[in-house]
Amino acid sequence: MNVDTDKLKSLLAVLAEENVAEFEHEEAGVRIRIVRGGVAVAAAPIASVLHTAPGAAKATEAAIADDGGTDVTSPFVGTFYRAAGPDVPPFIEVGASVKVGQTLCIVEAMKLMNEIEAEFGGVVTAIYAENGKPVEFGQKLFRIKKS
């Protein structure tokens, strides 16, 4: 487990300053749970620390898996949208062919709209993320089998 101690210290400072009793956060497979002063809060919603999205609006490629498909991951933290609006069709569906530069989805961070474009052509074999839900940096969004 790899914990950024500086980040953890500033987190603890904020929790103390705001008098937060309990805090839980998961990122990149690391789950942090903090209960201050031995006071547990039952069945409370879990707060999450979200990080500002870094720049380029290009989907990043993850390692190529055995089935020949390539995972497209989120280049930043934000909210994932499969369509340009609630009443229009999704940009892509499973089974669809995509071309280089084609819009796959939108990831929104503080109302900055990032259209994520395909960096390679192929066929969509899986859609991992759910419309309207938060996505983390590096989270798998799609699987595309290169053509």
């Binding site: 805090f23 979200l50 503080m110 259209e115 938060p134």
Partner: protein, 285 residues
Amino acid sequence: MSAPIDAERADLRRDGAEKISNVFDGLSASIVHVATTTSTNDLAKEAARAGCVHGALFLADAQTAGRGRQGRVWSSPCGENLLLSVVYRSPLLRRFPARRPLVPLATGLAVAHTIADVLPAPARAAVKWPNDVLVFVGETRKKIAGILVEVVGDALVVGIGINVSTTDFPEEIAPVATSIAAVRGDNAIGRRQVVQALLGNLEHEIERVLAGGFPAIRARYEAAWCMHNAPVWVAAGGPSKEGSSTDAGYAATVIGLDDDGHLKVVDGAGIVHFLNAGDVHLAPR
């Protein structure tokens, strides 16, 4: 189209061109002003993809598909309001790409300042996180501007709609929409004056936030916002409509902003949430 609008449009072109070349000094900004387009963001995005210069400005008298976040409609009668998009591609933007999500906040602040400068007291223009601009008059709270910032490669397209002259709003938005003319009770402020002030404020705030991060605009943002200790509804699970009682989410109270411009709220159980996306609605007054 009426003669005064044509005349004003000519003025806007001429004076706007002079002003903008001052604002973007040394950057050969271009101006495109069309009568009608789908959305000025569409024009600007197409130009940005084709590699247009920093500061390229796109204005329209009317939009056939004006839109906000997640396809929400932005409607405006022809020639009455300011509808524009600017392509932003400055050296600071390239240098600090991680600060891009702060641009909508800086844009909201610039729009709020521009509007506040032409509204008489006791009307107050304020920012609602991250970038809505509302006008408060007595007990009423109405939307006067809309902002949609989109990423296109290494550029940002900053789209802004400001209600300037409309006083007769469609029935469905009349309770929640207003304009500079409606608040002032006169037509003394034209689009030309607003666009000139806006472009100066916009570049000032965006360059500051890119150079110094959110702390560089925090004091002005907090002075201009309307959310200090405000009760809010945080919508979860995707886009939702303002005031919808069926939204999934939770009630919370705003406690501040962190150094990344994220909204800090505390819910009923005392849990602090840091928000960077999604819908946060002010509780009904």
